[in-house]
């Protein structure tokens, strides 16, 4: 008999985020990181392991969104050092000053009435 999953991939990810960790999955067969979290490995369907990121990454691409109402804000794609990419935003500088190639570090941002978000801040230069 198959055993039903007790925790969804999303719930497992959010639980780790609440504990201050940016988690991703690792595919032992292919030796690579997987993101977004899944119940099977893409490509071959094998098992996945959870891992925590060291939190360092590089801006892969970036845009400043200009809403009709309200202040412009940043949206970016971040390539983490472990080899996975996620959408997020880079805070702590004007949105238009976020640069492709910039080194960034994750920070877990609490959100009122919702799940926390993994956001990023620039690393000090040379890091």
């Amino acid at each position: 008999m198959t055993i039903p999953l007790q925790t969804s991939p999303l719930a497992a990810f959010v639980a780790r985020l609440r504990a201050g960790r940016l988690a991703y999955q690792y595919d032992p067969r292919e030796g690579r990181a997987v993101f977004f979290p899944r119940v099977i490995a893409p490509g071959h369907g094998g098992p996945l392991e959870w891992r925590d990121s060291a939190g360092l990454g590089t801006v892969y691409s970036t845009t400043t969104v200009h809403p009709r109402h309200g202040a412009p804000y940043n949206v970016a794609l971040i390539d983490m050092d472990e080899g996975f990419r996620l959408m997020s935003c880079v805070l702590g500088l004007p949105p238009g000053e976020v640069r492709i190639g910039q080194r960034v570090r994750v920070e877990v941002e609490e959100v009122d009435g919702d799940d926390p978000r993994p956001v990023f801040r620039p690393l000090e230069s040379g890091a």
Binding site: L10, F35, F36, Y60, S61, T62, T63, T64, V65, H66, P67, P72, Y73, V75, A76, L77, R85, L86, M87, S88, C89, G96, I100, G101, V111, D114, D115, R117
Partner: protein, 385 residues
Amino acid sequence: MSAGLKRGAAAIVGVAESDLGAVAEGMSIFDLMAQGVQRALDDAGLSLGQVDALFCAASQSRMSALHLAEYLGIDPAYSDSTFAGGASFEMHVAHAMAAIDAGLCRVAVIAYGSTQRTIGRKTASAREFNPYESPFKPFLPASAYAMAAARHMHEFGTTRRQMAEVAVAARQWALMNPMAWEKTPLTIDDVLTARPVSDPLTVRDCCLVTDGGGAVILAAPDVARSLRHPPVAVLGYGQSVSHASISGMPDLTRTGAIRSGAAAYAMAGLDAARMDVLALYDAFTINTILFLEDLGFCPKGEGGAFVEGGHIAPGGRLAVNTNGGGLSYCHPGMYGLLLLIEAVRQLRGTCGARQVAGAETALVHGNGGVLSAQSTVILGTDATL
């Protein structure tokens, strides 16, 4: 028996737009589809009773093929509402061709309708929540294409002026198309100084938001031969689904068009150099640049330079988006069907002022989602068969 789609196994025999732009209040998407179907049947010289297959896709209806069958009062032997955004209808061409070749149907209608301008884009196409992207409020689809553009600029030195050239060329073609939404000239500076949407894209880098729709009719070659217009043969097809969300796209400067185009060229036995007319899904200015590269019209990274100096505008070296494109002619949300209509008209030689002289081949490239689904159809006149 050889597997796969067969070159020339079906032909496009009828095409028509529904009402476009801002349609009469209360018009439904099925009113528009039905308008398109009847006009396309008239164009072909066929009647509704001869239609035995329905293909359609719409963001405003989950069961569009059922509703269209009910509306038209037919019970099709074969139906398919494959949904891949703006790439859907090129996929429908392949599916209709396969169904015709398998003997499942003889006359297939592909239809589309949208009233997104009238009812509002948010109502017409509700965003699906993605827990890994939505919390960051990307303005989709624009922000996804904006990040592809930013990456292209970073890797290859593509400039904002080069991207603006795409919008200006589309506008120049649109001014030669009486059906086009935009009626006034556009300059590079107009594009650069327009309202920013998602950097580096301004509102003039983005497709229109209009109503619209239409229909395309495919038939078996023996049926096609005896109709009103010379048949336009389907010579090649290829597709690729490289991701769904932009954070899952492996490389933002290399699209699935590399794969879809290669498959379509292989099936057609033709290459990029043999294409007379291009209909590329220009949801944003960066699309045209990416697809020119990925479909083999210039090397990777040189798309920006390729479009400079009006080279894809009327009188340029390559005829691209001769109807004015999604940027200046019409963009009801899933523009892929309208690409096919313009390509067929070019191959019939009925495009008037914007006709490309002696056009024998056309490449039609659909794009769906956020560069997610790519579908390439190569069409040709009888002489190319």
